[in-house]
Structure formats: structure tokens, C-alpha cells
């Protein structure tokens, strides 16, 4: 079973990567020039308090001992406490993470569902007005500062036109659905609360769109370039010559082959989108881990920031694993590699 072996090998690699990630966060939190005990104790701590914290966190022990302790804590999902609220970081993450995932999944869904057909159509109708528009979108979408685009869209669609709400996830008057996944849209759907779903969808449109723009641009660009190349390939010409219907040639034969680099781009963009939630959630007051990380970082509340870094890193690694496996499914040649 070559596939099973590949999966196992990838899982082993994931373990190595996770170890590396933990080393990075450990290094950042312990070897940074500022005193980690002072950071953990908070800005107003006295000397004695700092020393207490130092002892309590084991920061007076040797580095290898500290690392061992750190790893043991992580394995039990003990990420420390926030100094601002006193909450366990793991609890906070569990509370804020679904909102971020909801936003990221929505925006990825939109950028793939819109980006792939747009790139395909631009390649098929090369040098048409649509193609030119897509090329303009592809270059400008990546250069657009997400936070600025977010402010402008808020201005136009929420303030001037009044079509959509400005910020947040739901109005204060609406009770969110009882959590199943923690994602409001999905939960409302699962519980059949259509009014809540419609309202939540209106709140999600702008942030998800802003977050999707750069990925949309990148996906359009890659898919267009790949489709152009594939459509000129000999096997496509051969298929056409044999009288295979154009719709089948473009939609199945060519698209399937062009999807490989597109898929790699989707994986890359997923990580980028996760990172950008930091900006978009700040503008839209979206209660996710991005906003949580920013608010904690500004207050020098260190543990939550490291918790978010770990959560985002792990999510991104798992996504890349899935993308790699999908790659093998789409292209048998890469399976053994």
C-alpha cells in the first residue's frame, strides 16, 4: 500500500514539524531579550511578584528543564493564563477559534468557487475584455492592504449605502444559536434557525470578502496561467481532434490537470488567510483569535499570543497535510515521491 505508507511518512514529518514549531515558540518566549517572568507577571508587577512568577513558572531552572516542562504542559493543553483576564488560554482559544475558522473557510470557499471558474474563463477567452479585467484583478488584489480595503468597504456598503452591518458577528438583540461547532452560521443552519442564519450571513459578507480578495487574485492568476499552458498541450489537441466535446475537454481534461498548481496555491493561501485574520478581525471587531492575538500583544499579554501562534501553526500544518494527500489523489505520479 503505497498510499498508506505515504500517509504514515507524512504523519511522521508532521511530528517533526510540530516539534520545530514548539521549539520556535519556546525560543521566542524564553530567549527573547525581555524578561519572560516580567512579561508573565504583567506591566505593573513589583520585583517580588516577578520573582514569585519566575519560581512558579520554573523560569529559574535550566533551559532544557524549562523546555521539558513546556512540552509537558503543551501535551496536556496547558497554555497558561492570560494576565488581562485570568482566563486559561486554552479555553479562550476554544471560544475564539471557531469564529476565525468560520471566516477563513467562508473566504477560502468563495475564492476557490469564484477564482477557479474566473481563471478558467480568462484562459479560454484569452485577450478578451474579461481576460484583461482578470489580469487587473490578479495584480491589484495581492497589493491591496487588507485593513484599508476593509475600512473602505465598510464606508461604502455599511455607512453610505447601508446595505450591510458595519462590524461584529450578530446584532446585540439576537441570541446566537446554541453552540455545536461554535461557528454561528453553521450552528444556525444545523438548528434550523433561518432568521439567525440570514442575519449572521449579512454580518459575514464584508469580512469574508476582504479576506478572500488576495486569495481570489492569486487563484485566478495561477489557474489562468495553468489553463493556458494545459490547453496548448498535445493531449488536449489530441482529445479535440478525436472529437471530444469542448465542454469536456475544458471542464474535465484540462481543468483537472491545471488544478494541481492551483491546489498548491490554495494551500499556501490558506495559511496567508489565517494570518490576515489578524487585520480583518481588528477592523470588523470579529471575535476570533486574530483580534484576540492583537489585543493581547498590545497589552504585552504574552501567553495568549503564543497560544494563537501554536493554534495557527498546527492548523496550517494539518491543512498542508490534507492538500498533499489531495495532490496524490489528483496526480498519481506524486504519490510515491
Amino acid at each position: 500500500m503505497a498510499t498508506l505508507r505515504t500517509i504514515l511518512r507524512r504523519l511522521a514529518l508532521l511530528g517533526v514539524m510540530l516539534g520545530g514549531l514548539v521549539l520556535i515558540t519556546f525560543t521566542v518566549s524564553n530567549v527573547a531579550p525581555s524578561d519572560p517572568a516580567a512579561l508573565a507577571a504583567g506591566p505593573d508587577a513589583t520585583r517580588a511578584m516577578i520573582e514569585t512568577v519566575r519560581h512558579e513558572y520554573g523560569l529559574d531552572q535550566s533551559l532544557p528543564m524549562q523546555l521539558a516542562r513546556y512540552v509537558a504542559d503543551l501535551l496536556r493543553l496547558r497554555l497558561g493564563r492570560s494576565i488581562q483576564t485570568g482566563n486559561q488560554v486554552a479555553d479562550d482559544l476554544a471560544r475564539f477559534f471557531p469564529a476565525t475558522m468560520e471566516l477563513v473557510l467562508l473566504s477560502m470557499l468563495f475564492s476557490v468557487l469564484a477564482g477557479v471558474p474566473m481563471g478558467l474563463w480568462a484562459a479560454v477567452r484569452r485577450n478578451s475584455w474579461f481576460d484583461h479585467a482578470m489580469r487587473a484583478l490578479a495584480v491589484s488584489g495581492v497589493a491591496l492592504p487588507a485593513f484599508w480595503a476593509a475600512l473602505l468597504l465598510q464606508l461604502v456598503f455599511a455607512v453610505w449605502l447601508g446595505w450591510l452591518p458595519t462590524s461584529g458577528q450578530l446584532s446585540v438583540a439576537t441570541a446566537p444559536p446554541d453552540p455545536i461547532t461554535g461557528m454561528i452560521l453553521l450552528d444556525a443552519l444545523l438548528r434550523g434557525q433561518w432568521a439567525v442564519f440570514a442575519e449572521a450571513a449579512r454580518y459575514a459578507v464584508l469580512p469574508a470578502f476582504v479576506l478572500a480578495l488576495p486569495s481570489l487574485a492569486a487563484i485566478v492568476r495561477v489557474n489562468r496561467a495553468e489553463m493556458i499552458e494545459v490547453l496548448a498541450a498535445d493531449y488536449v489537441t489530441a482529445a479535440r481532434a478525436h472529437g471530444v466535446a469542448p465542454r469536456r475537454v475544458i471542464g474535465w481534461l484540462a481543468l483537472r490537470n491545471a488544478m494541481l498548481p492551483t491546489l498548491a496555491m490554495i494551500g499556501l493561501r490558506f495559511g496567508w488567510t489565517l494570518g490576515s485574520t489578524v487585520l480583518v478581525e481588528t477592523v470588523f471587531d470579529w471575535p476570533g483569535i486574530g483580534l484576540y492575538a492583537v489585543n493581547s500583544a498590545i497589552a504585552s499579554d504574552f501567553k495568549p499570543v503564543m497560544g494563537v501562534t501554536l493554534a495557527v501553526g498546527v492548523t496550517f500544518m494539518l491543512t498542508n497535510l490534507l492538500i498533499d494527500l489531495a495532490y496524490g489523489w489528483l496526480d498519481p505520479r506524486t504519490r510515491s515521491a
Binding site: L21, V139, V142, A143, L279, V294, S296, I298, T309, F316
Partner: protein
């Protein structure tokens, strides 16, 4: 006489050069990128001397003229201190320029030697370096930079340090791939068999061939690094507000948003045009230096 001799000696080179310049100038988007980047560099060099109200970049206060809309006297309007937004945005180009240069420079200075080592030496060195690189690539740069800034404390210098520390893996990837293919080129193997040392091969064959992809990536990264630093400034972890930095300006302007929209509009427009310029320039350079990769 020499005017005749030179073309003869360098005819082939000149012809190639003319072709390369032609590919660049024939592309409208590449020329647009060049124009945007040139405008940005000129503003960074001479802007502070040309702006209408130089004092406004240093935190002057004119409370009588707070938050004026764009007009003949203040093309981009004024901010909450009554300062000319055009002046502050133009002076901000200098900050963005050094931020972009520093981040790209440090990233390349770390990434290129590691990439060359990994690609050229191969074996265990390559495995180790690439593993470390992969780990850094597994955390989105902005999040890791945020974590580093949280440890160092907010500020533009710390922001630049943090972004430099997360930016280098891309260069390792790029140079490693290039060096790996070059290592097995016949002319490199020929040089090795004839007794050329590693230093000679690196200096004569590997590094010169890495320059084009490096220039392309550096051009793109200038824009993206400026964008990332502005993003840190926007969330309050980069440059601090009175400083005329684009991200920090928008962070303050956000509080005056619906009614005084021009305050955030113009700094953001400058970020957008700068990043766009460097991206288009990078695209144009790639098509020019590496015609095989040119997209239709």
C-alpha cells in the same frame, strides 16, 4: 574609431541587451510598475524637501484647521491635529523605503547563504536547513511576527526585526532550488573535474546564476515587506502614531472613519500604489530576465 570598435566587440551583448530592454518596455504593466517605483523613490529622496508644510511631519499642531476636507491648500485634507495629510504621507515614503530595504536585505542576507549551502552541498546539510525552513514556513509570517513583537515590545524597530526574522525562508527555498539544478549542469561538473575549488564554482557559476531570480523576488518583497510593516503599524504593534508612518496613520484615522474618510483613504492609497508598483516591476523583471517563465 573607438565608436566603431566597441559595437563590433560587444555586438552580441548589445543585441541581447536591446532585446531584453525591448521585452520590458513593450509590456505596459512593467512600465507602469517602473513608473510607480520611480515615483516612490523620487518622493522618498526629495519629498521631504518639497512638501508644503514640512513642520507637520514632526508633530506640529494647528487646532484651528482640524480635519479639513481636501482643498487647494491641503490636497489630501488635514488630520486631527490640523496637520497636512499630503505632507505626512509623502514624508512617510522614507520610512517605508528603509523598512522595505531592511527587511528584504536582512532576509536575503540570511536566506541566500543558507539556500546556497543547502542546494550546493546537498546531503545532511540540505536536509537540516530545509527542515528548519519548512518549520518557519508553517506559521503564517504575520502571526509569527506578531508573536516576536509581543516578546520584544511594540515599535517600528522591533517590527522590522520581527518581520526580517520571518521573511528569510522564502529566499532559502528559491536559492536552494536554483543551486540544486545548477550543481548538476555540465559546465559546473566540468569545472569541478578540472579541479576548480568550491569557492571558485560558487563565485563563477552558482551565485551569478542566482542573481536574476533574486532580483525578481527582492522587487516583489520590497512591496510585500512595506505592506507587512504597515499592517503591524495598523494593529498598533509597529510605528507609533505621531510618526508619519502609513499603517500607523490609518490606525489613528480609523477612529475618524465614516465622516473624515479621506484621512485613511490617502495613506492607504499610497501603500496600495507602492506595493502594486513593486509587484508589477517584479513581474516585468521576471519576463525580461527569464523569458521562459513569461506568462501569456
Amino acid at each position: 574609431m573607438s565608436a566603431i570598435a566597441i559595437p563590433n566587440r560587444h555586438a552580441a551583448l548589445l543585441r541581447r541587451l536591446r532585446f531584453v530592454v525591448w521585452t520590458f518596455t513593450a509590456s505596459a504593466s512593467a512600465m507602469a510598475g517602473l513608473a510607480l517605483v520611480a515615483a516612490f523613490l523620487l518622493l522618498a529622496a526629495f519629498g521631504p524637501a518639497l512638501v508644503p508644510y514640512p513642520d507637520d511631519a514632526r508633530g506640529a499642531m494647528h487646532l484651528a484647521q482640524r480635519l479639513l476636507p481636501p482643498s487647494g491648500a491641503h490636497w489630501f485634507g488635514t488630520d486631527e491635529m490640523g496637520c497636512d495629510i499630503l505632507t505626512r504621507v509623502v514624508v512617510g515614503t522614507r520610512t517605508s523605503l528603509w523598512v522595505g530595504l531592511t527587511i528584504t536585505g536582512i532576509a536575503a542576507a540570511i536566506g541566500v547563504p543558507l539556500g546556497v549551502a543547502a542546494g550546493y552541498l546537498g546531503g545532511r546539510a540540505r536536509a537540516t536547513i530545509m527542515r528548519i525552513t519548512d518549520v518557519f514556513l508553517a506559521v503564517p509570517g504575520l502571526v509569527l511576527a506578531l508573536a516576536i513583537v509581543a516578546a520584544l515590545g511594540p515599535g517600528i524597530l522591533h517590527g522590522v526585526v520581527a518581520l526580517s526574522l520571518v521573511w528569510w525562508p522564502g529566499y532559502v527555498r528559491l536559492i536552494e532550488a536554483k543551486a540544486l539544478t545548477l550543481r548538476h549542469e555540465p559546465y559546473v561538473e566540468a569545472a569541478r573535474t578540472m579541479g576548480a575549488g568550491h569557492a571558485w564554482v560558487l563565485a563563477r557559476h552558482i551565485l551569478p546564476n542566482c542573481i536574476s531570480p533574486l532580483v525578481v523576488k527582492a522587487s516583489m518583497d520590497m512591496g510585500l515587506a512595506i505592506l507587512a510593516a504597515a499592517s503591524l503599524g495598523f494593529v498598533g504593534l509597529g510605528a507609533r502614531p505621531p510618526a508619519p508612518e502609513w499603517g500607523a496613520m490609518i490606525a489613528v484615522a480609523r477612529g475618524y472613519m465614516p465622516d473624515w474618510w479621506w484621512y485613511s483613504f490617502f495613506p492607504g492609497l499610497f501603500i496600495f500604489l507602492t506595493v502594486l508598483g513593486f509587484n508589477l516591476l517584479g513581474d516585468g523583471l521576471r519576463d525580461m530576465l527569464d523569458p521562459r517563465s513569461a506568462r501569456g
